[in-house]
C-alpha cells in the first residue's frame, strides 16, 4: 500500500514540473504590464522603468524563470503585489477559509443529494423522482452568484435572519487562535461558543449557495448509478431470495452504486474549491479563489502561479485519496488497476 502511494506521488512529479513551466509562461504571456499598473496614476515613463527594475521584470525571461524555480525550491512562492504579502503565507491563511466553506457546502449537498438520488431511483416516475429532477435542474441552472445574491437579499436584507455578509466572522469578534484554520473547529478548541456561533451563522448562506449548485451532479449520479445497479442480476437474485427491500437497497445496491458517486464527489469538490470565486466575492469571503482572480486582473504573477501550483498539488492528493477510498468501498478495485 505504502509503496503504491509512493509510486503514485512519483508519477505526479513530472506533471507538477509541467504545471510550473506552463503557469510561468502563461502569466508572462498575459497582456498588461505590472510595472505600469503598480507605478500608480501619476507615474512617468521613468517611474515605470524604476518599478520594473525593482520587480526584476527587466531581466531576460530565462533568468526570471530560474530565479522563480530557485525560490520555489526554497519554499518561497514570491510576493503578491496587490496585497503586498508573501504568497505562501496568503495561501496558507486563505486555503482553510475556502476549504471550510467548500467542505460544509459539500456535506450539506451530499446530505440532501444522496438520499434524494436513492429515493428517486427506487421510485422512478414518482413525485420524488420529479422533485429530484426539478431541484437538480434548478440548482444547476441558477448561477452561483445569483443564488448567493438572492439568499443575501432575502435572509440578510429583507428578513434580517442572517448576519451581514462580511466574511468569516462578525466584525467585532476576533479570530480564534490558529490550530486548523477551520474556524468552526478552532473556536471550539478555544471554547469560545459565541465566536463559534458567529462563525457558523456566517457560513450558512455561502455554504447553502454552494450546496444548491453542487446538488445536481451528485443527485443525478446517485440516481443513475442506483438505477443501473437495481437492474443488475445480483439485485434480482437478492430480491428473489426474499430479502427485505431495505436490505436489498441499502446493503447490496447502495454500496455498489457508491463508486461513481465518489468519483463525482471528488470532481465536484476540487471544482468547487477553485470555482467558488463568485461565492467568495458575494460574501466577502477571504478564500483563495477570489485571491487568484484579483491577482489575475492586476497582472500579479506570483499569486496566480502559487494558486495554480497549490491546486495542482491538491488535485494529485485528492485523486490519490479517492483511489484509496475506492479500495475501501469495493475490495475488487486495486490501486494498480
Amino acid at each position: 500500500m505504502l509503496t503504491m502511494i509512493g509510486k503514485r506521488l512519483m508519477f505526479a512529479i513530472p506533471s507538477l514540473i509541467g504545471v510550473v513551466i506552463v503557469t510561468f509562461l502563461l502569466t508572462r504571456a498575459l497582456p498588461g504590464d505590472p510595472a505600469a499598473y503598480f507605478a500608480g496614476p501619476a507615474a512617468s515613463k521613468e517611474a515605470i522603468e524604476q518599478i520594473r527594475k525593482k520587480l526584476g521584470f527587466d531581466k531576460p525571461l530565462i533568468e526570471q524563470f530560474f530565479r522563480y524555480t530557485n525560490d520555489l525550491a526554497h519554499g518561497d512562492f514570491g510576493t503578491s503585489l496587490t496585497t503586498g504579502q508573501p504568497v505562501a503565507t496568503e495561501i496558507r491563511n486563505r486555503l482553510p477559509a475556502s476549504a471550510e466553506l467548500t467542505l460544509l457546502g459539500l456535506i450539506v449537498s451530499v446530505t440532501i443529494a444522496i438520499p434524494l438520488g436513492v429515493l428517486a431511483a427506487t421510485r422512478p416516475g414518482s413525485w420524488i423522482d420529479h422533485l429530484c429532477r426539478v431541484t437538480t435542474t434548478a440548482g444547476v441552472s441558477l448561477p452561483v452568484f445569483f443564488t448567493g445574491l438572492v439568499l443575501v437579499y432575502l435572509f440578510y436584507f429583507r428578513l434580517g435572519w442572517s448576519p451581514a455578509p462580511l466574511g468569516r466572522l462578525d466584525v467585532f469578534y476576533s479570530a480564534p487562535t490558529h490550530v486548523t484554520g477551520f474556524y468552526l473547529i478552532d473556536t471550539l478548541i478555544a471554547r469560545d461558543l459565541e465566536a463559534f456561533r458567529s462563525a457558523l451563522s456566517q457560513l450558512i448562506l455561502p455554504a447553502a449557495t454552494l450546496a444548491i449548485f453542487s446538488l445536481a451532479p451528485i443527485a443525478r449520479m446517485t440516481r443513475a448509478s442506483m438505477l443501473a445497479v437495481l437492474a443488475s442480476d445480483f439485485v434480482r437474485t437478492a430480491r428473489a431470495s426474499g430479502l427485505s427491500p431495505s436490505t436489498v437497497i441499502v446493503t447490496y445496491a447502495f454500496r455498489n452504486a457508491m463508486l461513481p458517486v465518489i468519483t463525482t464527489l471528488s470532481m465536484v469538490f476540487s471544482f468547487l474549491l477553485g470555482a467558488n470565486v463568485l461565492v467568495e466575492k458575494v460574501f466577502a469571503w477571504p478564500g483563495i479563489g477570489s485571491y487568484a482572480v484579483e491577482a489575475l486582473i492586476s497582472s500579479d504573477f506570483a499569486p496566480v502561479q502559487g494558486f495554480v501550483l497549490t491546486m495542482a498539488v491538491m488535485y494529485v492528493l485528492l485523486n490519490l485519496f479517492i483511489d484509496i477510498l475506492y479500495g475501501v468501498i469495493d475490495p475488487r478495485v486495486r490501486l494498480e488497476g
Binding site: 512617468s44 496587490t82 496585497t83 435572519w161 451581514a164 462580511l166 466575492k281 485571491y291
Partner: protein
C-alpha cells in the same frame, strides 16, 4: 466506512444544519465597542501601508494620510453644497508649530510634544530622513516630490533638534503645497533604520507591514484584501484628539452588498458605490449622502492628434459637436457630475480650471465640419476605454458611438482591461478614447503641465504639441512663482482658450466623489486625495 455509520452521521449532520442560529445578540461590551468603532466598507484595500513603498495603491494612501503626519496641512473651508473642503491656499501646522517662509527657503519649528507611536520624540533628524527617503526611493513618491521642485536631499537641512529648513531649488509656487500632500510624511527614522537592511536601506519592507509614524491613528491589524483595523493614538499632537476610537475597514467586493450593509445600518460609511445606487440612496433619505466634484479632475474624450484623421482640427471640432453631452449626464451619471460643456456663447474665459467649454451637441454643425475637413462620408476608427471603470465608461462609450454614427463616424468599441490600460496609454496609439485625469495640486498650470505640455507626459494622451501652448504654460508657471498676477491670468486664459480651440481632448464633466454614511456619522471632509480623513469624523 461502514454504510450504517455513514448514514447515521449523515442524518446527524442534517439535523445539525437544520438548526439555523439567529444572528448573535450583542453583549453590552460588544455594543459599547460598536458605538466607538467606525465600520467602513469599500471595494478594495491597501497593498502597502507606506506611501513610499513600491507600487502602493490608492487605498494605501488613506492609511498613510491617517497614520502619518506631515509638517503642514490645509485649513478647511466651506465647499460645494456646504461640505467642508480643504482650502488650497491656507496652510495649518501639523507637526510643525511654526512656519517661516523666506525668499529661497522655508523654516519649520517642530512641536516639542510630538511623539511617534512608540513614544520616541519627533525630531528634525526624522523629518530630514523622511524627506530624503521620499526624494530617493524612486517611483511615484519621488516624482510627486519633484512636482514641487523638491528633488535633492541637500534641500533638507537640520538647523537644530527641533528646526528644519527646506531650501528651494528654484522659485516654484507648488513647493509649499507639495509639502502638504500625502507623500512628505514623517517616519520614525530610528525605528525603521533598525529594521532596514543593506538591500533595503530605507526600510520599505518594514513600513509596508506596519505604520511607524506619529499620526492620529495606528494600524493594529491588517489582513490584506480583508480588513484593516486602526486604533486612535491618544497622544496625537498634530491636532485635536479625533472622536472615533477605532476604525475597522472591511473590503466588500460586491457593490450590492455594500449598499445592503449601509441600508441595514451595519456599515457606517461606503464611498465607492455605483452612481445609480447613490442616487437611489439619496432619494430614500435614510442615509447621509455627500457628493463633491473632484478637484482639478475632468473626464474627457481624447483624440490622438498624431493619427489621421484626428490630426485635422476640423475633425476634432466635428467630434466635439457630436458628443451627446446631456445624455451622458442623465443616463450614465444620473446627474452626479458637474457638466464641463455648454457654457454661454458670450461667457468670458475664467482664470480657473476645470471650466466648461462652449460645445453643445449639434449634429448638423458636426456634419458640416466633417464635410469641410474632407470626410463628408465619415470614417472608421476605434473608441477605447478602461474596463477597470466600466461602470461609467461602457455606457458612456456606447452613447458616444451611437452619436458619432449619426455623422458617419463608425466606431468599434475597444475594451481594455485595467491592468493593461496604462500600458496602452503610454504607447500613445489609441486614436479615440475616454479617460479621466485629476491632479492633487489644484492649480490650472499643474493640470496643463501633465496633460497638454509638449514634454508629452503619460497624461498628454493626445500627443498634443504646440509651441504656443508650451509658452503659455511656462509663462503661467514663472508668473505664479514671482506673484505676477496680471501675466499669470493672461497666460492661464491663453492656454485654456487654446486647449478649447485646438480641442485635442473634449472635456465632458467633472466627476463627483460620492460618500454614503449613516445619519449618525458626521464630519466628512473633502481632501484633494479624495480619501477619508478619519480624524474629523464623528459617530454619535
Amino acid at each position: 466506512m461502514k454504510r450504517r455509520d455513514f448514514l447515521k452521521s449523515v442524518s446527524g449532520l442534517a439535523a445539525a444544519s437544520a438548526l439555523t442560529p439567529a444572528p448573535a445578540i450583542w453583549s453590552s461590551a460588544k455594543a459599547q465597542a460598536r458605538s466607538e468603532t467606525l465600520l467602513i466598507v469599500s471595494e478594495s484595500g491597501p497593498n502597502n501601508l507606506d506611501i513610499h513603498g513600491v507600487g502602493t495603491n490608492v487605498p494605501g494612501y488613506e492609511v498613510s494620510w491617517n497614520c502619518y503626519d506631515r509638517l503642514i496641512s490645509h485649513e478647511m473651508k466651506s465647499g460645494p453644497g456646504g461640505v467642508p473642503y480643504y482650502d488650497r491656499d491656507k496652510f495649518k501646522p501639523e507637526l510643525a508649530e511654526d512656519m517661516k517662509v523666506g525668499d529661497m527657503s522655508v523654516t519649520f519649528k517642530l512641536k516639542k510634544n510630538a511623539k511617534f507611536h512608540d513614544g520616541a520624540p519627533v525630531t528634525a533628524k526624522d523629518v530630514k530622513w523622511s524627506l530624503d527617503r521620499a526624494v530617493s526611493v524612486g517611483g511615484f513618491p519621488t516624482f510627486q516630490m519633484g512636482a514641487g521642485s523638491l528633488t535633492k536631499t541637500e534641500q533638507f537641512v537640520i538647523v537644530d533638534d527641533n528646526t528644519v529648513r527646506i531650501d528651494f531649488a528654484k522659485k516654484d509656487r507648488l513647493t509649499l503645497p507639495d509639502l502638504a500632500v500625502i507623500v512628505p510624511c514623517v517616519v520614525n527614522s530610528e525605528l525603521v533604520k533598525k529594521n532596514a537592511s543593506e538591500k533595503d536601506p530605507w526600510g520599505l519592507e518594514y513600513t509596508k507591514q506596519q505604520t511607524a509614524g506619529s499620526g492620529a491613528y495606528k494600524v493594529t491589524k491588517w489582513t490584506a484584501g480583508t480588513e484593516v483595523v486602526m486604533e486612535r493614538n491618544d497622544e496625537w499632537a498634530g491636532g485635536p484628539l479625533p472622536k472615533v476610537k477605532r476604525v475597522i475597514w472591511r473590503m466588500v467586493p460586491q457593490a450590492g452588498n455594500r449598499r445592503a450593509l449601509l441600508e441595514r445600518g451595519d456599515a457606517d460609511i461606503s464611498y465607492d458605490l455605483p452612481n445609480k445606487d447613490f442616487v437611489e440612496l439619496k432619494d430614500s433619505g435614510k442615509l447621509n449622502i455627500v457628493s463633491v466634484p473632484y478637484s482639478n479632475g475632468v473626464q474627457y474624450i481624447g483624440m490622438n492628434v498624431k493619427i489621421a484623421p484626428f490630426d485635422n482640427p476640423k475633425v476634432r471640432e466635428a467630434v466635439a459637436c457630436a458628443i451627446p453631452y446631456q445624455k451622458i449626464m442623465d443616463a450614465v451619471l444620473f446627474g452626479l457630475a458637474k457638466p464641463m460643456f455648454g457654457a454661454a456663447a458670450d461667457k468670458a474665459t475664467e482664470v480657473a480650471w476645470p471650466q466648461p467649454t462652449k460645445y453643445v451637441t449639434d449634429i448638423a454643425k458636426a456634419k458640416a465640419l466633417l464635410a469641410e475637413a474632407g470626410h463628408p462620408n465619415g470614417f472608421e476608427t476605434t473608441l477605447s476605454f478602461d474596463l477597470g471603470f466600466a461602470g461609467v465608461n461602457e455606457p458612456l462609450c456606447v452613447l458616444v458611438q451611437e452619436s458619432l454614427a449619426q455623422i458617419g463616424i463608425k466606431t468599434t468599441i475597444n475594451k481594455i482591461p485595467g491592468a493593461n490600460w496604462r500600458t496602452e496609454l503610454n504607447k500613445k496609439v489609441l486614436p479615440l478614447y475616454t479617460n479621466v485625469f485629476s491632479g492633487w495640486l489644484d492649480y490650472p498650470e499643474y493640470f496643463f503641465i501633465w496633460c497638454y505640455d509638449g514634454k508629452n507626459s503619460i497624461f498628454n494622451t493626445m500627443s498634443y504639441q504646440s509651441k504656443a501652448m508650451d509658452e503659455y504654460i511656462a509663462g503661467a508657471v514663472d508668473a505664479a512663482a514671482i506673484g505676477n498676477t496680471a501675466k499669470y491670468d493672461t497666460d492661464v486664459k491663453g492656454f485654456v482658450d487654446l486647449a478649447f480651440k485646438d480641442i485635442p481632448r473634449i472635456p465632458l464633466y467633472q466627476p463627483y466623489v460620492n460618500v454614503a454614511m449613516q445619519k449618525n456619522v458626521s464630519g466628512y471632509q473633502y481632501w484633494f486625495h479624495r480619501r477619508l480623513d478619519y480624524r474629523a469624523l464623528v459617530k454619535a
